[in-house]
């Protein structure tokens, strides 16, 4: 059904591809725009900026989110900042440098043309956000301030305290509010997309369920945009919000959209460790703490002494030992894996043994408590709220946690999936971060897609679609609607004995163990055997009280966990097939003698895009490869020594 994957990257030199492409792209005239309806699912940085931009241009937009207000999408939780190649610091930054850092940070597994375009529009994003009133940090002269972030040698990160995501999202949300008031955007909060509707092979609508009333409804449109975020919650515990889920993209996958690189997940090294089975989510502690904190574990295994009672000679500062030149500032993936290693050896700390110390004692002795308080006071406060421990007087405990997913639905240069009309933006697509995302790049990509890419590329599709919007009584809508209803009924009728969360937790632990920071073929095969059993039990033993025609949060979660139980298998299949290490995907079989990720460019410099083959039952998905060609950058082994 699918031929070769056409990335539709325009010809010409890298630097002028996007501008030439825009110059010749098809347009929709202002009078015709109001005849088009566009569905945008998700209201985070990508969805919110896309919906408001398209509304402003004159399209009629329907925007959906599961939260009670579009202002609450999980983009709001991003702390650090947003990158742009403004070179305000006069330190040699440029569009090319941002492009190169992003490609290299992604371990050479992303498309050159997409990443270059991202770097190119980064500057426009800062202009746009300042104009909206985003209160970025400023210097005393009144100009914008920057800070540096991992993976770059320049200061290019713009920030608003530790709440950059919040302020950028509120900027997009306020733009969206303006369009809602103007009537160009119709907002559907507390509404979840449960299926994609295809008419003659084109994405022409969705089926939704109101989380308040349970009403299942069909919506038709001329095009569908998914901006539904990542799938980190497949691991149960992650830094994602509770509601984040894979349902929209996974249901699109089941309708024929290709899912690309699902095994690429980012695991952040500095999070507050899991404290027990009750835990519902994990909280990130900014990576900046590693500038002054020293990471260590006891040399002895199962050492239960208080940290203050462990003498210097019996501590292992393992990052400093293993990576003398980078020390505690070793890159994210290396730091995460090293923490796992020492805990696997039985040297982890805390009640669960899954934690390492991040110790500020030396920094406090050197700089004084006051300086540390000024630099990190808010983080120490958050830490104390969650753990009840005072990190000024005893070391913090940290452990890696799932944070972001680089994989997502496959899209071409226009951000359109292989299904005509289905566009995918933000974290939900796979496109710009390769196998590892650099800090402060997620916000950049979300807003680039929504403000500056989709408004140019969506009309290319729409221009040929005037008058082709089906009515919601089209048989395809009726069919999809009844499938959705049947699925809800089936779930409610199991009336078993196990809670939804118990399945989610079990799946999460399995994936964390077999498809987390380090993977190997045997472990992945084990997971691939276990997941179908778990899924089988789920469909025979879940307990969901209440009905589908009401506010029913257990039912909501049930639908999401059911999709995670299928998606987890796809993730492991991809991780097994990608028989190399790259970025966040570390296959233990493929490492250098020093334990670094060992890429295999000859066989794996390509995107893995999976096609659903199941017909009711699960069948092995079909692999399509999009070769990645590197015409501008030279493939190199990342080195941290």
């Amino acid at each position: 059904m699918i031929g070769t994957l056409d990335s539709r990257v325009p010809p010409g030199p890298l630097e002028t591809k996007w501008s030439n492409y825009k110059d010749h792209a098809r347009l929709v005239s202002p009078t015709n725009r109001r005849k088009f309806e566009v569905i945008v699912v998700g209201s985070g940085l990508a969805g919110g900026s896309a919906a408001s931009s398209l509304g402003e241009m004159g399209y009629h937009v329907k925007c959906f989110c599961y939260q009670d207000s579009p202002r609450r999408a999980h983009s709001i939780a991003a702390q650090g900042g947003i990158n742009a190649a403004k070179n305000y610091q006069n330190d040699g930054d440029s569009v090319f440098r941002l492009f190169y850092d992003t490609i290299k940070g992604g371990d050479f597994r992303s498309r050159e043309a997409n990443v270059y375009r991202l770097a190119e529009v980064s500057n426009l994003i800062i202009d746009q956000c300042v104009e909206q009133g985003v209160p970025f940090a400023r210097e005393y002269g009144g100009l914008l301030a920057n800070r540096s972030f991992g993976g770059a040698q320049v200061s290019r990160t713009f920030y608003a305290r530790g709440q950059t995501g919040q302020q950028l999202l509120l900027g997009a949300y306020q733009g969206l509010c303006r369009q809602i008031a103007a009537g160009t955007v119709e907002m559907y909060p507390e509404t979840e997309m449960l299926d994609l509707v295809l008419v003659d092979g084109h994405a022409k609508g969705i089926i939704t369920r109101s989380l308040i009333t349970g009403q299942i409804q069909a919506h038709s449109a001329d095009a569908v945009v998914l901006a539904t975020g990542g799938y980190g919650n497949v691991f149960y515990l992650s830094t994602n919000a509770r509601g984040c889920n894979v349902t929209a993209t996974y249901r699109a996958y089941k309708k024929g959209a290709l899912f690309a690189n699902p095994c690429y997940t980012q695991i952040h090294p500095t999070c507050i460790p899991v404290s027990g089975k009750h835990q519902s989510k994990l909280t990130l502690m900014s990576e900046s703490l590693r500038n002054d904190g020293r990471v260590w574990v006891p040399k002895k295994t199962h050492d239960t002494r208080k940290p203050s009672e462990i003498p210097e000679a019996e501590r292992d500062y393992y990052l400093e030992r293993k990576y003398p030149s980078f020390g505690n500032l070793a890159p994210r993936d290396i730091s995460s894996r090293s923490a796992k290693e020492v805990c696997d050896e039985g040297r982890g700390v805390g009640e669960t043994g899954r934690g390492v110390f991040l110790d500020f004692q030396d920094a406090i002795a050197r700089l004084g408590e006051e300086t540390i308080r000024e630099r990190y006071g808010n983080l120490f406060d958050i830490y104390e709220k969650i753990t009840g421990e005072d990190a000024y007087h005893r070391p913090m405990r940290i452990y890696p946690a799932v944070h972001y997913t680089m994989g997502g639905l496959w899209v071409d240069y226009n951000l359109m999936s292989n299904i005509p009309g289905l566009h995918v933006i933000g974290e939900a697509n796979f496109s710009d971060h390769g196998a590892n995302r650099l800090g402060a790049s997620a916000l950049m990509q979300g807003l680039a897609d929504g403000y500056f890419v989709l408004p140019y590329t969506l009309p290319i599709y729409l221009a040929g679609q005037l008058g082709k919007r089906p009515a919601v009584d089209h048989p395809e809508f009726k069919k999809a609607e009844s499938e959705v209803r049947a699925r809800v009924e089936r779930m409610l009728n199991v009336k078993g004995k196990r809670s939804i969360d118990s399945f989610h937790r079990e799946l999460g632990l399995l994936l964390w163990d077999k498809c987390g920071m380090a993977r190997n073929a045997a472990g992945l095969r084990e997971a691939l055997n276990r997941i179908p059993e778990l899924r089988e039990e789920f469909w025979n033993n879940i307990s969901i009280p209440g009905s589908g025609a009401e506010f029913n949060q257990t039912l909501e979660r049930g639908g999401r966990v059911a999709d995670f139980l299928e998606f987890g298998e796809l993730m492991c299949t991809d991780a097994l097939e990608r028989d190399e290490s790259c970025g966040g995907h570390f296959r233990e079989e493929h490492q250098t003698p020093d334990g670094e990720a060992l890429r295999n460019d000859a066989d794996f410099a390509s995107v893995f895009a999976w096609e659903y083959q199941g017909n009711g039952a699960m069948a092995a998905p079909k692999l399509h490869r999009e070769p990645l060609s590197f015409d501008t950058v030279e493939l190199a082994q990342r080195s941290y020594k």
Partner: protein
């Protein structure tokens, strides 16, 4: 730890009531919402209707959670949202009363879930800068004094949870509204629409049925984002100036 919960249960328009639940075997490191998760998981397995409550980020920034705990919006651990409250804050064996945010403009949905879309409509009335993507000038073309930008950020930090209105005896949303009006009035980008914005937002606030500020400052006390009540003074000032300007046809 063990707790006795008195939880507000209400479905639809029928008047709700407080129902007793036991939360047993709770670790002190459990968050308040995780404690409710545990109670709910036990209810669901027994086939009983779990307690409806909303939450999302669970780190105090999204503003979704909206619980009144022992009579205080977001509970006893200020500043912070209910999701940042941990059970070690309570005495073992304590009785804890859990209710939704109550304010007339917040319509009941179920149990501890209320509809706060009234706050969205206040922003829709004018809480924005009309800035079309693609037409913005170079970001550094308008310098903004650091102290002004910092003050704007303090106002912009509002998470939109509605605790201010829930805590206020008059159900006033003036802290919420003043935060947005002040944030945009403090920045030059917000100036062209300054007059119109404050008039429309206050009008929307009144139309939704929120009351006026009568200087209790309960809002400031419970605000998880530590928004200062002095912004309410700024809102009043902005409103007065705008009224005069409007009357004068300026």
């Amino acid at each position: 730890m063990n707790f006795k919960l008195r939880v507000w249960r209400q479905a639809g328009a029928v008047k709700g009531r407080l129902v007793n639940y036991e939360a047993t075997g709770i670790s002190p490191n459990t968050s308040f919402l995780e404690m409710l998760d545990i109670v709910n998981e036990r209810l669901a397995v027994k086939g009983e209707d779990p307690i409806a409550f909303e939450s999302d980020c669970r780190e105090g920034i999204c503003g979704t959670c909206c619980l009144t705990i022992n009579g205080e919006a977001h509970g006893p651990d200020h500043p912070g949202a209910a999701c940042q409250l941990y059970m070690r804050r309570f005495k073992d064996g304590a009785t804890i009363t859990v209710e939704p945010f109550r304010a007339r403009p917040f319509k009941f949905i179920k149990d501890l879930v209320v509809d706060r879309s009234a706050l969205d409509r206040i922003v829709q009335a004018g809480g924005f800068v009309a800035a079309r993507a693609g037409s913005a000038p170079e970001a550094n073309s308008i310098p903004i004094a650091k102290h002004k930008a910092d003050l704007a950020m303090e106002a912009a930090a509002c998470i939109g949870c509605g605790a201010c209105a829930a805590a206020c005896p008059n159900a006033s949303a003036m802290l919420f509204t003043s935060a947005k009006v002040s944030h945009l009035a403090l920045l030059p980008q917000g100036h062209p629409q300054r007059t119109d914005r404050v008039l429309k937002m206050v009008q929307a606030m009144d139309a939704e049925g929120f009351g006026n500020c009568s200087n209790f400052y309960e809002c400031e006390a419970v605000c998880p984002a530590e928004i200062s009540a002095s912004f309410i003074a700024k809102l009043n000032r902005e409103y007065e100036i705008a009224t005069v300007r409007k009357r004068a046809g300026m």
